[in-house]
Amino acid sequence: MASTSLSTILRVQNANISVPTGLFINGNFRKGRGKSITTIDPSLGTPVLPPGVTICGASKEDVDDAVKAARQAFQTTWGLNTPGTERSRLIHKLANLIERDQADLALLETVDSGKPISWSKADITDTVACLRYYAGWADKIVGQTLECNVKEKQGFTRHEPIGVVGAIIPWNYPMFAWKIAPALAVGCSLVFKPAENTPLSVLKIAELFNEAGFPAGVFNVVNGFGAETGSAIASHPGIDKVAFTGSTATGRAIAVAAAQSNLKKVTLELGGKSANIIFPSADLDQAVNWAALGVFENAGQSCSAGSRVLVHESIYEEFCKKIKIAAEKIKLGPTLDEETWQGPQVSETQFKRIMEHIRIGKEEDKGRVLTGGKQWGTKGYYIEPTIFVDISPKARISTEEIFGPVLVVLPFKTEEEALELANSTEYGLGSAVHSQDPSQIQRVAAKLNAGTVWINQYTFTGNNIPFGGYKTSGWGRELGSYGLENYLSVKAMHYYYGEPIEFPLKL
């Protein structure tokens, strides 16, 4: 029986967390007319919420209502009607409230997404930092003045908020700041769809928008399924821009829908098959640590995961020995346990896909499993950290994005070969160079076709450093000042104050 109230109490460890279950539109929670969501705790394979309690899903009509609310806010109480210093103050307030409530939010995130609790806490710290970074931009949005001819004309550009933004985010990092923060900073309002696998934490944060004092309609949450809610957003004529992070296949569909509807602007953060390149001069122990982090972090569920390691043949054997040891040190376990490092995959569907890739790797690609290759435990969707060696770079698991804790290790002879291997992919999201040779580092970095190149590091992004893909890994950049551009339109003003003209004009 569906729940008739719009919130529920979730008991996690010793906390009683009240969780809203409705859609959040125009500052209020309300029922949805779309297909509702039963969210599963992937460490157990069982529903998170009490029996009969579901999360409301948004229909096309609900999305319409959210867009109306967002548009109304943008034209009256938000957009450039609210000066940057006030937008800054509100975003800082939101950051402070998330920081205040981090314990409950982390618990919610863990049970909903399967992230181990220590990683959920780190995500919230990052979210707070990202909001604070963009709060600082809100009163620093500048255009240009352009000299034409001081006696008759002055040029200006105004950098204006684009309007109503549809944001569709994935389940691997449900904390949502990368889209929210820059959009709010410049004055856009949002219609926000979390992933159907992880609908909970953003609903809790919606309450904080009211507490922080954002005007109603600035931030709207429409949970739902991609086919219903996501596609309603992508094709909505009243949405000025859609920002999507997720699979390449869905990204394409969104871009097509955007083009066919109102040519809304589109940014996409899609998949990857990123290569970690280790040269002979590298500090091998460090390279191993970074490579292990790069692929096994978040159970491999990272768009920029370093899922291929290319190792120079002279250090290949030693590398394989060391990375096997590193992978086998990883502690899987209950997600609420502070000691657990790797959690389950987010869903049964993902689990099956990854296990299928592992089967393909063994049986069709004929690779050798150095470690792992099996389910871990008997409950939930855990997969052992898995490393394949002795496999072709053209094998399916060497080229397809797996999105799980599966690493492919490939040897190379020369720098040219390493670059050839690294760049032979339709993707171009992350990459890394491990080397102590300063010239080699720059040479290789210059030639890698990827939006991010880590040097003697992996994984860690920075709120002020742009992130995004070459090739089919996406369109546009998030983070840094670059992230602001996604949410701005440029208006050129030609201010004429010169002499009268005659008509027809003598050329």
Binding site: R132, Y133, G136, W137, D139, K140, S439, A446, N463, Y497
Partner: protein, 503 residues
């Protein structure tokens, strides 16, 4: 003694710092010397404040240098600098009433104005600059991608000497500390000897916020001794000064003669306010009154020369005189007060001297012209002198008091020539309802700030500074940050066999 008792609103006694603040500690001056500070609304002495010697300046610079090399500068993380600046802003906001009272009793500002306007702006300024700390970017520059990797970094300049004036003591403190700290510089600050008290009280908040020792150091003292020692110091990398043109010149000479430290200056002005026939007369009159009488005229960009076009002259002047006569002059403790005394007897006498000079050169007093009789403080009435001509002393020289000189004009060409005929170039304004005229005239005025249909309003994200002898460099906005960074270009050679010798 490094602190003393002072009576604030309602006679409430508090202890307030009066010593030197070096390395997060309070110390007396090395020779025990002090100077007096006075309440300009009563003429009464407030207390004695330590006067820093050049030996004290050496100690402060050493502390600032050590912090820059160990806990601040490039040894600090930008998000941490942002966090500390935001914390400081929060603390100032928390203590706004107390700091407002201290600012008011030391400077003569109305308490309401000090607390709600000055301190409100201060908090906003620090929060604005906190947001810049992790956004100071350099460039990567394509030269030859096969051969070189080249980039710039914007590094903090280093140890900065900052000398601030008495007209907006706390605001000037924040305008200087905000960008300097955001950029990663350390500071040796000399507040005005007339108004040291809030700068000193803020140092307790620096400690409470958690700034490492040596990042901010405050040395009250006299210009001739403390100020000179800072300007001449061989280990200060940059000096920022706000004050008179004369002192600005001295500082720049000292900077050049010592170690060629970088210099920025915010100096005086004699800013023209131009009212065209098409202006909204009521609005323009209020802007004009505010522009010259705010802070009792003690404002570097005060609109002190008024030019009114002939058709509206009589109507406009009638309104303006009425506004001057209804300035809310009073006791600074009174919440209704918007117009306080001048800062000192010397300043008051100087202003009265200028009024005499104007009269002797033929100007007429339309209103004011005298001391305000209702108080022993250093008050001068809002004063308007009409019939002023360009050769008059009162038209050419900065008075720094509530004295407006008025000239009637006929044409746009004529008034532009008059407006620009000055060695200064800090502020200027044009009031008109003609869009083309607004664009033409604002483009033609040689001034660091031009207001159109307003006067005086500044914002933390908009740069401010002077043309000509009004100064060098800009404060506020991103420009403010640029003045505290220095560019380093790094060229990485990628080719292994590129060197050649002999050429």
């Amino acid at each position: 003694m490094v602190n003393a008792e002072i009576a604030l609103l309602g006679g409430r006694k508090v202890t307030t710092p009066t010593g030197l603040f070096i390395n997060n500690e309070w110390v007396p001056s090395s020779d025990g010397g002090t100077f007096e500070t006075v309440n300009p609304a009563t003429g009464q002495k407030l207390l004695d404040v330590s006067s820093a010697t050049s030996e004290d300046v050496d100690k402060a610079v050493a502390a600032a240098r050590k912090a820059f090399n160990t806990t601040w500068g490039r040894h600090s993380v930008p998000t941490e600098r942002a966090r500390l600046l935001n914390k400081l802003a929060d603390l100032i906001e928390r203590d706004a009433q107390h700091l407002g009272e201290l600012e008011s009793v030391n400077s003569g500002k109305g308490l309401r104005v000090a607390r709600d306007y000055d301190i409100g702006d201060c908090v906003a300024c620090l929060r604005y600059y906190a947001g810049w700390a992790d956004k100071i970017t350099g460039q990567t520059i394509e030269v030859n991608s096969q051969a070189k990797f080249v980039y710039t970094t914007q590094d903090p300049i280093g140890v900065c000497g900052q000398i601030i004036p008495w007209n907006y003591p706390m605001m000037m403190w924040c305008w200087k500390t905000g960008p300097a700290l955001a950029a990663g510089c350390t500071i040796v600050m000399k507040p005005s000897e007339l108004t040291p008290l809030t700068a000193l009280a803020l140092c307790d908040l620096i400690v409470e916020a958690g700034f490492p020792a040596g990042v901010v150091n405050t040395l009250p003292g006299l210009g001739k001794t403390t100020g000179a020692a800072i300007a001449e110091h061989m280990d200060i990398d940059k000096i920022a000064f706000t004050g008179s043109v004369i002192t600005g010149r001295t500082i720049m000479k000292a900077a050049a003669s010592s170690n060629l430290k970088k210099v920025t200056l915010e100096l005086g002005g004699k800013s023209p306010n131009i009212i065209f026939d098409s202006a909204d007369v009521d609005q323009a009159a209020m802007w004009a009154a505010c522009g010259v009488f705010y802070n009792s005229g003690q404002d570097c960009c005060a609109g002190t020369r008024l030019y009114v076009q002939e058709k509206i002259y009589d109507n406009f002047m009638a309104k303006l005189v009425k506004l001057a006569e209804t300035a809310s002059i009073g006791d600074p403790w009174d919440e209704a007060t918007g117009f306080g005394p001048l800062i000192s007897a010397a300043q008051r006498d100087k202003v009265l001297g200028y009024i005499e000079s104007g009269i002797s050169e033929g100007a007429k007093v339309a209103t004011g012209g005298k001391k305000w009789a209702n108080s022993p403080g250093y008050y001068v009435e809002p004063t308007i002198l009409t019939g002023c001509k360009p050769e008059m002393k009162v038209v050419k020289e900065e008075i720094f008091g509530p004295v407006l000189v008025v000239t009637k004009f006929a044409t746009e060409e004529e008034v532009l020539a008059l407006a620009n005929d000055t060695t200064y170039g800090l502020g200027a304004a044009v009031h008109t309802s003609n869009a083309k005229q607004a664009m033409r005239v604002s483009g033609a005025l040689n001034s660091g700030t031009v207001w159109v249909n307003s006067y005086g309003a500044l914002h933390n994200n908009v740069p401010f500074g002077g043309y000509k002898t009004s100064g060098i460099g800009r404060e506020l906005g991103s420009h403010g940050i640029n003045e505290y960074t220095i560019t380093k270009a790094v060229h990485h050679n990628l080719l292994e066999d590129d060197a050649s010798w002999p050429v």
